[in-house]
């Protein structure tokens, strides 16, 4: 498997570390159901077949965090984005709706 880092170009898997589900969001610790929400955030995964959005870290390259969309059955990668850009986009989207 090879991942096309948006900064470095296409690199071999051994330069990257897998860092989990990119779709979960850290819950608000002040929420009355915070305990349940944190259990779900940390442990509960459904692991469906098909496309996942995953965090990968370019550890032996530019040290950027990436959001990789990957088919877990086929290893087909359909997009690689800088996690920073994804977060900034989400931030501006929530600002727009407020």
């Amino acid at each position: 498997m090879r991942i096309a880092c948006p900064y470095c170009g296409e690199r071999s898997l051994d330069e990257f570390l897998y860092s989990g589900d990119a779709t979960v969001k850290r819950p608000d610790f002040a929420s009355p159901t915070a305990t349940e929400e944190f259990v779900s955030y940390v442990y509960e995964r459904t692991n469906p077949p098909g496309m996942h959005r995953e965090l990968w870290y370019h550890a032996a390259g530019c040290h950027a965090w990436l959001v990789v969309t990957r088919g877990v059955a086929t290893h087909q990668i359909t997009s690689v984005e800088a996690a920073r850009e994804v977060a900034l986009k989400e931030k501006s989207a929530t600002k727009d709706t407020k």
Binding site: Y7, C8, D14, E15, A60, G61, R84
Partner: protein, 195 residues
């Protein structure tokens, strides 16, 4: 009480320089180096400061540019760079950059943290290709190209200087012996004796 202190010691104590018609390997021991990152929201202003002082734009892609005043700038990640210059006349890039860039960048000295090895000659590409998982073919990696990757599992910043070809590799200084071990093993078939 006896005076206590640290004495400057070469990272290349166990090295013998390599020089034959296939390959030369040199330790570049006379460098001053600093890494720097743009302060938040200041990358354009930082670039303008570099342009004013050194006459070049900072590379935005994995590459190396030579500026005026003998400083080369190597891309070292998004909005981060490694700068390399000769140390002569007490030159110290960390001090120089802190004065020149002020609050536009975070600057960290790398002169003692990293070392640079120069690998040059007709077989340099083949030797490096044995441990570097990148396409180093001249159509893919050229003079001015740079990359952050690993060489035989040792983290490196690599750049190409010319098409002899000459490469330079920056690595953490305590890895020098491991790096040399791999490099000389890889070069054995080209007539390089293991130190």
């Amino acid at each position: 009480m006896a005076k206590q202190g640290l004495t400057a010691t070469s990272a290349f104590l166990h090295w013998k320089p390599v020089a034959n018609s296939n390959l030369t390997v040199d330790a570049r021991e006379t460098l001053t180096m600093a890494s720097f990152a743009a302060a938040k929201g200041k990358k354009d202003e930082l670039n303008a400061a570099v342009r004013a002082a050194y006459g070049v734009d900072l590379p935005k892609t994995p590459s190396r540019v030579e500026g005026q005043q003998g400083v080369a700038f190597v891309w070292a990640g998004p909005e981060q760079w490694l700068a390399v210059a000769e140390r002569k006349d007490g030159r110290d890039l960390e001090t120089e950059f802190k004065k020149t860039f002020g609050p536009l960048a975070s600057v960290v000295d790398q002169s003692d943290g990293r070392v640079v090895v120069r690998i040059s000659g007709p077989r340099a590409r083949e030797v490096l290709a044995k441990g570097i998982p990148l396409d180093l073919h001249e159509t893919a990696f050229r003079p001015g190209s740079a990359a952050i990757t690993h060489a035989s599992h040792i983290g490196v910043i690599l750049w190409q200087i010319d098409d002899k070809p000459t490469y330079e590799v920056a690595l953490f200084r305590s890895y020098v012996d491991s790096f040399a071990h791999w490099l000389l093993d890889s070069a054995a078939e080209y007539g390089v004796a293991h130190a």
